[in-house]
Amino acid sequence: MDYILSPWPWFVSGPLIATVMFLLVSFGKTFGMSSNLRTLCSLGGAGKISSFFDFDWREHQWNLWVVVGSILGGYIAVQFLSSTDSVGINPNTLAVLAEYGFEAPQNNLVPAELFSLEALQNPYNLALLISAGFMIGFGTRYAGGCTSGHAITGLSNLQLPSLVAVIGFFIGGLLMTHLFFPLFFKL
């Protein structure tokens, strides 16, 4: 039981994520989480405004069930399958984050300094989260996929455009972490 309750090692998690991809492929579908954002826009009536959303969202309903499941999965994992082990982040990373004003994670998966209700009352933090979300939604559709569609599925299927997209993910991520984090968070 300890093996289940402790954080899972990468060599267990990676193949299990590939299994999720393969299950969906074997159901005749694909693994792509960001597509749901487009489907949700369509469901909300965006098809009346832009032809990009003018399709029958019911055909993508299966993927919304994957979303519902993943929400439940997050709940189950935290409520029933977790011990109180803190996340074993590299101390060097934590030291740099401390310089930016982020305390050690304890058992948290996201920092209270950005995500707590208190932090959100600060318009600056709110603006950061909104811009982050906006770039995720805009960028994934522009690139034609996210980590699941390009990095996992695309690379598994040896797709060159997916490799280019993943290189893009890292260009953006490295710029954010090394160039913008010091600007945004340096005390």
Partner: protein, 136 residues
């Protein structure tokens, strides 16, 4: 109920990503600082397993549950879009510490303020739909 198998797959996905800490904001920072093998190990071993599963299923003609041969659509060869869009997504991924799967999983895990990121992502997708034809 066709929905059940997708719901169960989603639950499994949510549990795996939470237990592997791939949904941890701190893990994403650590990854982009190259200070841990963890995330590279997850993505790398997922891709290697994925390549093997897809190659084996092609070789042995494994069929989908609907009776068709297993085949994945080719990704459109839009390299400029992949690079530009990918970079924009990467900026958001590193700042929010979550991509489109984990943001829903984190909501389930009880981090409700992630819904701000989800709503903003919906807005971003919507705006992309409006301006897509004008982009390079």
């Amino acid at each position: 109920m066709k929905a059940i198998k997708f719901l169960l797959t989603g639950i499994f996905f949510g549990i795996v990503l939470t237990k592997s800490e791939a949904v941890s904001w701190y893990r994403i920072v650590e990854m982009f600082r190259f200070e841990s093998l963890h995330m590279y190990g997850i993505i790398g071993s997922a891709v290697i397993t994925g390549v093997i599963l897809l190659q084996l299923s092609k070789r042995f003609g494994i069929q989908t549950t609907e009776g068709n041969p297993i085949a994945l659509p080719e990704k459109a060869k839009l390299y400029k879009k992949a690079l530009l869009g990918g970079s924009i997504f990467g900026l958001g991924w590193a700042l929010a510490g979550a991509c489109p799967g984990p943001m829903f999983i984190l909501f389930g895990a009880g981090y409700y303020s992630i819904s701000i990121v989800i709503l903003a992502a919906l807005l971003g997708t919507f705006i992309y739909g409006l301006v897509a034809h004008k982009l390079p």
